[in-house]
């Protein structure tokens, strides 16, 4: 809600209305590619990621695409990608710039921090960059937290439009169609605001070879998380990581009659 003590939104909103620029910040995370089935390590301390193909979190590609479309429509003037993680996360940022982001910021950390710390780091970046809109993915497909956007919105005291399947900007507000359990819901939120992208928001573009080349020359700033004065101490410790109970393949039946017979007399579910 508005009216939080150090709500940075109120003075920002005045500036937004009077100016010609409209900046969108897009946080992108480097994760194990969605096509890969990861396995817990034998010692149960985590999952085996060594040597696996890494890619941009699929929801973040959608977030980047949405920001680019808003810029191409003239609703935004600059798209800045930001990633928090190890040095290799710069590959993810280059991908975002090859798709079309104007520049990028890498915040270096030892490992991938949890959403509370990511949200605090992003808050510090938002305070430096003063974007009008932050579009995140709804969920990182490695930790499956679905939390960072909502947490950043809370920390900034900004409104949030999560699980978005449509975003329209007009008159200093964003109208966001949201995917909810029972169907779709539309909310109108005042800028600056947080949006998180669901799968159906758009279909992300591929980066063309010339654009990949161009992206190499776009500005990429590197910061240390420790320089931002943010406490990133983990609150959750991983006690163990285990394989879920395995489901074994059953039998192939030869006919509809046999299937019905099995469901009735063996599984007893019909």
């Amino acid at each position: 809600m508005q009216g939080r003590p150090q709500d940075p939104a109120s003075h920002r909103r005045q500036r937004v209305s009077g100016k010609k620029t409209m900046k969108i910040l897009v946080p992108v995370k480097r994760v194990v590619d969605y096509n890969i089935k990861v396995r817990p390590k034998a010692d149960g301390t985590g999952v085996e990621t060594a040597g696996l193909k890494m890619s941009m979190n699929p929801f973040d590609e959608i977030a980047v695409e949405e920001a680019l479309r808003l810029r191409e429509k003239g609703a935004a003037t600059e798209v800045v990608a930001v990633s928090i993680g190890v040095q290799q996360a710069q590959d993810t940022l280059r991908t975002a710039m090859a798709m079309g982001a104007d520049r990028a910021i890498l915040v270096l950390t030892e490992e991938s921090p949890e959403p509370l710390a990511v949200a605090k780091i992003l808050k510090a970046i938002v305070e430096r960059e003063t974007p009008d809109l932050v579009i995140l993915g709804k969920q990182a497909i490695d930790d499956d937290m679905n939390a960072t956007g909502q947490m950043l919105a809370g920390l900034l005291g900004w409104p949030q439009g999560t699980f978005a399947s449509k975003v329209e900007l007009a008159d200093g507000r964003a109208e966001v169609a949201r995917e909810v359990d029972g169907g779709t819901e539309v909310v109108s939120i005042a800028l600056p605001a947080i949006v998180t992208a669901d799968l159906r928001l758009n279909e992300p573009r591929y980066a063309s070879l010339p654009n990949i080349m161009k992206a190499k020359k776009k500005p990429l700033e590197t910061l240390q998380a420790s320089d931002l004065g943010v406490d990133t101490t983990r609150r959750l410790t991983v006690v163990s990581v285990a394989e879920p109970p395995a489901r074994k393949a059953g039998v192939k039946v030869g006919s509809v009659e046999e299937l019905v017979e099995k469901l009735r007399n063996e599984a007893k579910v019909i």
């Binding site: 909502q150 539309v186 410790t237 990581v241 879920p244 039998v251 039946v253 019909i270």
Partner: protein
Amino acid sequence: MTVLVFVETEAGHVRQASRSAIAAASKLGEVHALVVGDAASVGAGAEAAAKIPGVTKVLKAGSDALAHTLAEPLADLLVSLAGDYSHIVAAASSVGKNVLPRAAALLDVQPIPDVLDIVDADTFVRPIYAGNALATVKSADAKKVLTIRATSFDPAPAEGGSASIEDAAAPAAGDTSRFVSAETPTSDRPELESARVIVSGGRGLQNGENFKTVLEPLADKLGAAIGASRVAVDSGYVPNDYQVGQTGKIVAPELYIAVGISGAIQHLAGMKDSKVIVAINKDEDAPIFQVADYGLVGDLFDVVPKLAAAL
């Protein structure tokens, strides 16, 4: 230890997923339920929550600001009530996932989403990597904020309790976030999340018309809910709230019939805890057969009408 559970109500009854959240919270301590809504309807919801065994007190907050469970006022309300509670809990529904992380951030807490199992007051099991691994995590936060995966906890009964009901101060409506409209079509079919049987269709169905003419008669015979793969939803065969999977709904019915669905890990993440899985697919090597109790290799346009007729 007392736990605050945010409870979702609908037309004067408590959603099943929230009853699962109450069941999970009961393992941690005494349960207070928070029910919100517009001033006119919140009373009926609060009364329904008061009847759930295990709930000892219902806090009800009715105001225009809370009518549509917008995250901003609801998170503020949770934060204002948080002081007395060791844990704040909700179902991992679209509302719970929208609101709880925001409240957690305001409380300087790292939330624990999608809890499958409670080890002790600080330690919880949750899925990561689309459920390909289960992480047991221990929280160092003084207060815990959790969302509960409904399929992992049998719902508390709807009747039998008699909790007291108290008013909680409802926040005033702001303008930074406004509800505009909702499109939530109702159907006579059971809800996906609580259905005993689900018939799910994928790209193999080819179009929305075939969902109606091929899949619906089978679902009708079984009294089943209808689900879908992402491709079926993306291609517009069925609405988005039919999607089962890592990023759709998590279901665990007694019987799940996957028709023309290949069995991508993201789909399996949403249904592999079903009790009995049947797969109908023309490709005998489709990965869905690796989790199916009963697999039938064949053309769905031939097999599904026959199956409906045989029931």
